[in-house]
């Protein structure tokens, strides 16, 4: 489809990436130094932020990647460039933090600045573009994800990054971090599981009864339209009333604020994609296949469990993917009504204008949604492959 290329041409995307790298190296600070956690930052250029030899290595590698991204067109070569760039850049951030923090000073904070972010962005863009062009099969994508996660885990565990402000923020609240992480996962996955338990049978029923289908889908799409914080608010009043009048409910932990309204709201949001995709999945099962199964003497239950559901599985999984990514994000807002989760750090951070605290909540959330979307996309493709 592409027009024929002249014999020598510069790659356009590569050129954009090279420009970004140039700006990052020569016109933007690499790191920010702050005397205390909430003091205003002082910018440090790459040559100031690292020992001179290390700074030279980072600059040389980045320039090499810039030149390479303009000249190399093969996806694998580009991926290699991106990996080399990241492998030098990411540890150097930790070294920079150690270098900039005065010895024995536990108040000073070093965080990445625009230059670092631009470099990381350029290398990631190169990698993402390479992955998009390589069109990996689901197992390849899962392997790439596993490699990325292991590299990140190594950087975190090895202590290279320990002098960075966000990890200092983590170390002062490691206990609450894992507590909120558990709460976040519980909210996101628990409400998803509940929505599957209710939504899939509802979808099966809706597939068979037209009136039920229209009513349920319309009702749920209205729910989906309501902004999260408003839905939390709308659930608080009735739940509060239940807790006040039914002692058993209160004893079970059902209250107007906290995790209960958040859980119910996430559950309600999750229902639409699951019900709609169950119906869509069942609808696309060819009638001839179901007829053949009937002809073989299968009962209605056997047809559903052995024929229709397996054939509908990829579409249902696609619905679960939407729900999981949506829930992991929405669970952040639960912190506003005392529901816990990573949002607690985000909102505390906003309150204290402490960006590191905000990032401590935001980065795991984004990472989780990102991983969840890759894993479930791969599962959808594997399920499709199993049917083909």
């Amino acid at each position: 489809m592409l027009p024929p290329r002249p014999a020598f041409s510069l790659d356009r995307l590569g050129s954009v990436i090279a420009i970004l790298i140039g700006i990052a190296l020569f016109a933007a600070p690499f790191a920010t130094y702050r005397a205390t956690r909430i003091a205003s930052g002082e910018a440090r250029l790459l040559i100031e932020a690292l020992p001179i030899s290390m700074g030279a290595v980072v600059a040389a590698v980045a320039l090499g990647v810039a030149v390479g991204s303009v000249l190399v067109r093969e996806p694998l070569g580009r991926l290699g460039l991106a990996v080399i760039g990241l492998a030098i850049l990411l540890p150097s951030l930790g070294l920079s933090a150690g270098f900039l923090t005065p010895a024995g000073n536990s108040f000073a904070r070093v965080s990445p600045s625009l230059g670092f972010w631009l470099l990381a962005l350029s290398f990631s863009l190169l990698a993402i573009d390479a992955f998009a062009r390589m069109k990996l099969d689901p197992y390849g994508r899962l392997a790439a994800l596993a490699a990325g996660v292991s590299a990140l885990a190594f950087l975190l565990v090895s202590g290279i990054w320990d002098d960075l402000s966000i990890l200092k923020e983590y170390h002062t609240r490691a206990d609450s971090f894992w507590r909120e992480a558990r709460q976040h996962l519980l909210l996101a996955f628990g409400s998803m599981a509940a929505a599957c338990l209710v939504g899939i049978p509802l979808g099966i029923a809706g597939h068979r009864m037209r009136t039920l289908r229209t009513a349920v889908l319309q009702g749920l799409s209205i729910v989906q339209t309501i902004p999260s914080i408003a839905l939390f608010g709308l659930l608080m009043a009735p739940l509060g009333a239940i807790a006040a009048s039914v002692p058993l409910a209160a004893a079970l932990g059902i209250r107007g604020i906290g995790a209960t309204p958040a859980f119910i709201a996430l559950f309600l949001y999750a229902l639409l994609p699951i019900v709609a995709n169950t119906i869509a999945g069942l609808n696309q099962v060819p009638a001839a296949v179901v007829d053949a199964a009937r002809g073989m003497g299968m009962s209605a239950r056997q047809r559903l469990m052995q024929i229709e559901m397996p054939l509908a599985l990829p579409v249902i999984l696609a619905g679960i993917r939407i729900v999981l990514v949506q829930n992991l994000g929405l669970a952040t807002v639960a912190a506003l009504i005392g529901g816990g989760g990573f949002g607690s750090f985000v909102f505390q951070g906003i309150g204290q204008t402490a960006i590191d605290l905000v990032l401590l909540g935001a980065i795991p959330t984004v990472g989780l949604s990102f991983a969840a979307s890759i894993i479930l996309d791969s599962l959808v493709d594997i399920a499709k492959g199993a049917l083909a």
Partner: protein
């Protein structure tokens, strides 16, 4: 359809009445308050907050529509084709970012108030519109384009007279999705001191006043549902019009 129209009309009337003169509804919310706390939000006019909320959403959506459609057109032209695979992946990745994370990260960069909210709405609003512009433009059938070319249309004429009109309903659906997400994100924007309806809910949460939380939630929810509904009507109208006009082509 009759029932739907009656419901729609009732909802609009109730919403407008409540926003214009909330005190008239105080009796409904009084049972929810204790210690003689105010039953109706009293730290600002609901009408003003609603208009402010809608203004933020409208401006951000307008900005993201312009940029997203332009980008969508760019990557579907031969000169931008190299960016197509990357931009598709970026949209997929971008959508895994929760809006609240975008909002929270913008605060340290630009300070509290309208600005971070606008940035979050603008950036997050780009995704559905860009995605739908791509879908809309790439699903125009090659035969149609070939016919347009055969009629002697140049690239610009094909874009404005064939591709964009055919993609219009799909782009509109993207804008609708973007508006709905923005309405919700703008509500959360009140946690970073942007003027908007979220203020009512947040004030209620802070002072433990369920009446505020409920009325804020009701107004935001009704507003979102009605706008979603209204944009849906426009979309269906556009699709119908398109269906007719293509039928007229022999």
């Amino acid at each position: 359809m009759k029932v739907a129209s009656v419901l729609r009309l009732t909802a609009v009337v109730l919403l407008v009445l409540f926003i214009a003169m909330p005190q008239a509804f105080a009796f409904l919310f009084e049972p929810l308050t204790d210690n003689r706390a105010p039953a109706i939000y009293n730290q600002g006019s609901l009408l003003f907050l609603t208009l402010q909320h809608l203004r933020t959403v409208a401006l951000a959506t307008l900005a993201s529509t312009v940029l997203a459609v332009a980008l969508g057109i760019f990557v579907t032209r031969p000169s931008g084709a190299e960016f197509l695979p990357l931009s598709r992946s970026l949209v997929n990745i971008g959508q895994t970012f929760p809006p609240i994370a975008v909002l929270a990260i913008a605060v340290p960069l630009v300070g509290f108030g309208e600005k971070p909210t606008f940035i979050a709405l603008f950036l997050y609003g780009l995704l559905p519109i860009f995605e739908n512009t791509l879908t809309g433009l790439t699903q125009v059938s090659p035969q149609t384009l070939e016919a347009a070319r055969g009629m002697g249309m140049n690239a610009r004429q094909r874009l404005f007279q064939v591709e964009l009109p055919l993609a219009f309903p799909v782009i509109l659906a993207g804008i609708r999705l973007s508006v709905i997400i923005s309405l919700g994100t703008a509500t959360i924007g009140s946690t970073v001191a942007a003027k908007g309806l979220g203020e009512v809910i947040i004030a209620g949460l802070q002072s433990n006043n369920i009446a505020f939380v409920l009325q804020g939630g009701l107004v935001v929810a009704l507003l979102a549902i009605l706008i979603h509904d209204g944009l849906g009507l426009i979309e269906r109208f556009a699709a119908r019009k398109l269906g007719r006009s293509t039928d007229e082509v022999p």
